[in-house]
């Protein structure tokens, strides 16, 4: 039974983490494509529209992979987490069904029009279809966040028959206070990913001295959107989300921060390695009293350490939780530095000529993906040992009838299939970037 639990968790973690590499780019890029098309519509400059069309091509590949890797997520609630689904389906099924009805229909219908219909629709309606694809992807994000927020911080439910839960307040479910900040934090994270991909591609064109007009637009758009979103990521969204965790999941906060003992004026740890045997942090580098200030806005405030909670309510993988949280925060800080420097260079009109800066931007694109994944790993590991926080423990949620052997079979299948998809995806995106916006525009005219 232990084996089966581990395999169910591994399969869900792997398929979810892999899947989310794509929607974060979809949601970020959708906004940037809308912006590029809007600029083109307002200024009449065709180059912004061709730029948007180039990103539309990459968007299409990315969207396709996002869709096909997303279908397993909905299925796995039933296939791998049947007891959880029976228990909570009456509540979170609402938001999952709403995602399908309100977001996916919108997204998929207008994606077809956006990709195939530019000539038929004309520029204004084509802009509208791009906007509706963006809207669909962001609505979809909301319903998924509300679903996750309910697992992090259950609201609007009541006890139903046979030990299951039922919905008692639809408004409470949709307006879960946890969901609002989690949503804004998550979406700004997606915009950071989109911005860095756009800027990185632009930097490549400038460094390679090709498609330079597009390169400049991409660097400018990416750096400015990247700066705005990175700042919003830290404050107010990240800050507020951290306070949510401190308030509702204090044990998770202690584990994230590597705080083993309750302290007045708790320090903020920058670097250090949790030692679970000795229950302490090795080689710590910290800012005194900073954690107390960030959490409670008072330097001397008491922050509860892990020792304040019974060990059976501690998150089950504290070192990984600690590292993923620190990776997320560390990378977020670096994003602000890169985009702030870029904005300053843009303002001084030196950004396109500074090869050192362009190299940094070009090589930076993987890091938002890592930061977003680390953020989700933090959220999900912080929720442990609960599947539904405070209500249902993770081992009680699996499909009891699905054996470890069958789960390993499908996990291996997913590993193999997703490896192939990853290779194909990289191949096709590199091919599109290699062809470049100018050639795609040329292709259209012929």
């Amino acid at each position: 039974m232990e084996d089966a639990l581990l395999l169910h968790r591994l399969q869900f973690a792997f398929t979810a983490t892999y899947h989310y590499l794509f929607p974060q780019l979809t949601m970020g890029l959708a906004l940037l494509i809308v912006i590029l098309k809007w600029v083109s519509l307002r200024t009449g400059k065709e180059i912004y529209n061709t730029g948007a069309r180039f990103w539309g091509k990459i968007f299409a590949i990315n969207f396709a992979v996002g869709v096909v890797t997303g279908i397993p997520m909905e299925f796995e609630f039933g296939t791998n987490w049947a007891r959880f689904s029976t228990y909570a389906g009456g509540v979170i099924g609402q938001t999952l069904a709403m995602e399908g009805v309100f977001a996916f229909f919108l997204e998929s219908s207008f994606l077809g029009l956006f990709l195939f219909g530019e000539k038929r629709l004309g520029s204004k309606l084509h802009f509208l279809s791009a906007f509706l694809v963006f809207l669909g992807s962001w609505i979809s994000g909301y319903f998924i966040i509300v679903t996750n927020a309910w697992m992090q911080h259950p609201v609007g439910y009541a006890a139903g028959p046979n030990g299951t839960l039922m919905l008692s307040s639809f408004a409470d479910l949709l307006l879960n206070p946890w969901a609002l900040w989690q949503y804004l934090h998550n979406m700004t994270g997606a915009v950071v990913t989109g911005s860095f991909c756009v800027a990185s591609t632009g930097a490549y064109y400038l460094l390679a001295r090709r498609d330079e007009e597009y390169g400049k637009i991409f660097v400018r758009t990416g750096v400015i959107a990247g700066l705005i979103s990175s700042l919003l990521l830290a404050f107010p969204t990240g800050d507020a989300q951290g306070k949510n965790v401190a308030h509702s999941q204090p044990a998770a906060l202690a584990a994230m921060e590597g705080l083993f003992r309750t302290e007045n004026g708790a320090p903020l740890v920058l670097i250090g390695q949790p030692d679970m045997e000795k229950k302490r942090l090795d080689n710590p580098l910290h800012v005194p009293e900073m954690l107390s200030f960030l959490t409670y806005n008072r330097w001397g405030a008491q922050v509860k350490g892990l020792d304040a909670f019974p060990a059976d309510t501690w998150p089950t993988n504290i070192p990984l939780l600690y590292y993923s949280y620190h990776i997320m925060v560390g990378l977020g800080t670096i994003f602000i530095l890169i985009t702030a420097a870029g904005s300053w260079l843009l303002w001084r009109k030196r950004a396109y000529a500074s090869r050192a800066f362009l190299w940094i931007v070009m090589l930076s694109f993987p890091f938002p993906f890592i930061a977003n994944s680390a953020g989700w790993i933090t959220a999900e590991l912080g929720r442990q040992p609960w599947l539904v926080y405070g209500l249902l423990r993770t081992p009680a949620g699996t499909s009891a009838t699905v054996s470890a052997g069958n789960t390993l079979f499908t996990l291996l299948g997913f590993l193999g299939l997703y490896f192939v998809i990853g290779v194909l995806f990289l191949l096709l995106v590199m091919k599109a970037i290699g062809a470049g916006p100018a050639r795609i525009a040329q292709h259209e005219r012929d």
Binding site: V67, G78, T79, M98, L113, L417
Partner: protein
Amino acid sequence: MEILWFCIVAFMLCMYVILDGFDLGAGVLHIAVAKDNDERRLVLGAIGPFWDGNEVWLLAAGGTLYFAFPLLYASSFSGFYLPLMIVLWLLILRGLGIELRHQVDHPMWRSFWDATFSFGSTLLSVFLGAALGNVVRGVPLRQDGYFFEPLWTSFTVQPDAGILDWFTVVMGLVGLSTLAVHGGNYLAMKTSGEVQRRARAGARTWSWGVLVTSIGAAVSAFAIRPGLAANYSEHPWGYVFPLIGAAGLVGVFYFNRKSDDVKAFLSSTAFIAGMLSSTAFGLFPYVLPASTEERFGLTVYNTATQSYGLGVGIVWWTVGILIALGYFTYLFRSFRGKVTVRKEGY
């Protein structure tokens, strides 16, 4: 309220089979009706803007099933673990086939994705039929409402049968031939020239398959689950569903011969809707009967969530589905008429 949600989920699944059915069917016939690159681009162009939206009906139906009947969703998805995972892999490969084929301009690349698309569509059509077969035959439910079925055991219909036994294989063939006809009708409607001619011929050939397999499946279904007839004898108005299906099948033969492709497509739609609703009507109130003991069977009553959730759901569902039908009307109108291969690709 439970009955209403039963009808809603049945309606959504039926929409899924009708809509994704035509692009699955197009995939089944893909290699047979389209011989060269331009013809294959024509087939993919005919389904290109639609297939993704069609597949959303599966996700939306799944989500609706999840919230309205949580135990049914949990029990069937974990019990059908292996076939569902294989369905997922096939959906992934097939979707990639449609979307990635035109990305690289090389005949080997295209051949590979043509084969993948066709293979995936064919197996999925069989699986859809076999899935329905499993629901009709019943599954080895335990007292707690859960079960697990291997892919196959001895291929005989018995309490510990696997997903595939002779009955569900026959149902799988019903699924395959029905969707092939449906896809052929769709392609004949949306294309012209050689592809149209071959699509019509394909639909004609496969409709004999539909006739033979569905008669076989219907006879065996009543033999395996005699209870299916009970609802019909109690409520004779239910006979309208099989009559719609039968009329659809007659229409398929008739309009195919007259080369009236739109009416042929509407006929295969009526056949699918009629047959699925007949099955649902016969099974009701069961949604997943037990092959172990009758009383372990899952019904709309013992799997539904509470009335507050169902009541809230009916409000947003109605609003949402009306909007979605609006999108579909707009989308199908925007891409109405015959597809042609443009130089740019589809």
